[in-house]
């Protein structure tokens, strides 16, 4: 059974999606989608356990051997990302019912759940596959379904945000397609392992250089690396709250995964870092992004938008770690990829709960919630402390490795700016805290109750995870380090 797990991982949500449409009813579709998400989480857990115990898994789709058929290749890195996507998918789905009922019209709910499952399929597929063209296909599945999901937001600006994202996203993935085409032209293969083996021989050709350039721009668009992040704040602000929670914690992370995978196990560190010197440009963009986007987050008056800007900044942290191309840097980047997914998922779920109760994610809507929704806001504070990087939260672990890597490689400016941006994080998190705890609610506004249990529990699980993995790092850091060693040593 375990041998078939890689394909089951993809099939569950892929088959679940049309079934959701067939149910034709929101409630049925919800339970189906929830069952699929939980099953998918179960499979992802088993996969990670197997990979950590017995090494990488190779699965040939349809029984076709590698250069001809599509190969799923699961190592420590992608099983880690798989788990993140499946975990967030399940937690967000757990919380979805009430929020979706209040934000999505009844006749569209089953489509909504179908799109959620398709989006999961896409993200899981990108992560699991070992075939470059397959990456593009899954990238588009994820992207198309997320355009649909964002357009379902109840404000009319959601439509325009979705349109913008569609244009930017399509340009990004087409760039990636061009890059894959050029790689195929030079090597005659689409299998990632084969690509890695054949590229060094043709590494000096202009075609490979051009493909690299197209890839970097395309993937930067996809992961919203500053300054190609323009689509993200609007998309996350106007999307239905549940969608924001899911996309913010997984979509950009998976794009970062694609970058790591291409940089290290296709182009190879020798080409990307030593010959092209991608470190400098990635590192500088990341640093500028971290500071400017953290600063921008401070000035937002909508908590969703605030968190969106913070997401762009946090992508900067991950990219910064990668740009060091050292063991500690890569460990920090990968572990932050996971950790930030947990934190942002939790924070966006808190906002979803507030939107459910108060009807708005505006900063003013948070007035007095410290009293009205004590548990929810306490979870927000804990999640926010993680963003700041207070010890015993996951944020601290990531920061520790990033700073250590920066000191190791002598990037003192990076050290200073990462620390500075932690302070900016204090400010933007505390703005929300002050509104929730120090400002009274308007007298004439309706009384607000605690968030429903169905939303509190998944949020609490994620917040708890940010603390547990902040204390017990053996597992997260262990996997990230294994992945880093594998990436650096595998094809150096």
């Amino acid at each position: 059974m375990i041998a078939e797990h890689p394909v089951i991982q993809i099939l569950i949500p892929l088959l679940g999606a049309p079934l959701c449409v067939l149910t034709g009813r929101g409630v049925l579709a919800y339970w189906l989608a929830l069952a699929c998400s939980l099953a998918s989480l179960f499979v992802a857990t088993r996969l990670l356990a197997t990979v950590m115990a017995t090494g990488p898994i190779v699965y040939e789709l349809g029984g076709w051997a590698a250069p001809w058929g599509i190969e799923y290749r699961i190592g420590p890195l992608n099983s880690f990302v798989l788990l993140l996507v499946a975990l967030l998918g399940a937690m967000v789905m757990l919380a979805a019912k009430k929020s979706v009922e209040s934000e999505i019209p009844g006749d569209r709910r089953h489509f909504f759940y179908a799109a959620m499952l398709l989006c999961q399929t896409g993200l899981l597929g990108i992560t699991i596959t070992g075939d470059a063209f397959n990456v593009f296909v899954f990238l588009e599945i994820a992207a198309l379904s997320s355009y649909v999901l964002i357009a379902m937001g109840h404000q009319r600006r959601a439509l325009y945000a979705s349109y913008q994202y569609l244009i930017m996203g399509t340009i990004g993935s087409t760039f990636i397609l061009i890059s894959i085409g050029l790689l195929y032209q030079m090597t005659g293969t689409l299998n990632m392992a084969d690509l890695a083996a054949r590229l060094p021989a043709v590494g000096d050709t202009r075609t490979v250089l051009v493909s690299f350039a197209f890839f970097m721009v395309g993937v930067s668009l996809k992961m919203a690396l500053f300054p190609l992040h323009m689509w993200l704040p609007n998309a996350y602000t106007y999307a239905p709250s549940i969608v924001s929670a899911f996309l913010a914690s997984t979509a950009t992370k998976v794009a970062v995964y694609v970058m790591i995978r291409f940089l290290f196990s296709i182009y190879g560190p020798a080409f990307a870092f030593d010959r092209i010197g991608v470190s400098q440009i990635l590192g500088s963009l990341a640093l500028v992004g971290i500071v400017i986007m953290s600063a921008a987050a401070i000035f937002q008056n909508n908590v969703k938008r605030l968190l969106a800007y913070s997401s762009v900044a946090q992508i900067g942290y991950i990219v910064l770690g990668i740009s060091f191309a050292s063991e500690n840097g890569l460990t920090g980047g990968i572990v932050h990829l996971f950790n930030h997914g947990l934190m942002k998922g939790a924070l966006f779920l808190v906002v979803a709960a507030v939107v459910y109760r108060v009807g708005s994610s505006d900063l003013n809507a948070f007035r007095g919630l410290g009293r009205a929704m004590p548990v929810t806001m306490f979870l927000f504070v804990l999640g926010g402390l993680g963003m700041i990087g207070v010890p015993l939260t996951v944020g601290f672990i990531s920061k520790w490795y990033l700073i250590l890597a920066a000191i190791e490689t002598g990037h003192w400016l990076a050290v200073a700016l990462v620390l500075l941006s932690s302070l900016l994080a204090v400010i933007y998190v505390w703005r929300v805290v002050e509104f929730a705890y120090f400002q009274p609610r308007d007298r004439d506004s309706d009384p607000v109750g605690e968030a429903p249990l169905s939303m509190l529990v998944p949020t609490a699980i994620l917040v708890l995870a940010t603390i547990v993995f902040g204390i017990n790092t053996e597992w997260t850091v262990g996997v990230a380090r294994a992945a880093a060693v594998f990436l650096l040593g595998g094809h150096a």
Partner: protein, 120 residues
Amino acid sequence: MSEQFGLFNYWVVITLMMTGFYIVIARQNLVKKLIGLNIFQTSVFLLFITMGKVRGGTAPILDKTIEIYSNPLPHVLILTAIVVGLATTALGLAIVVRIDHVYETIEEEEIHDIERGIKR
């Protein structure tokens, strides 16, 4: 010169690509932007198909008389990409229809003005 001519398809690819890209960036009309996006994507299809062409080759049919044939794989890939492009265009147009419905315009500037509260 013959070498330049041999790269004719690639020149077309670049021209189409830049044209499409320019339209996406420069046009204000949401439908025109989508048209640009389509031209842009089409150029990539052409790129793939061109690289699959082998000089003097025919269609890849399993037959003893055929020795040189074009690489079929890019064609297959591009079939997938065309489907993806179709889906994107369809979705994009659907969104534009809804935008037209709620904003009663499909001009980018006007949407911005409406959101900023400026009446025309």
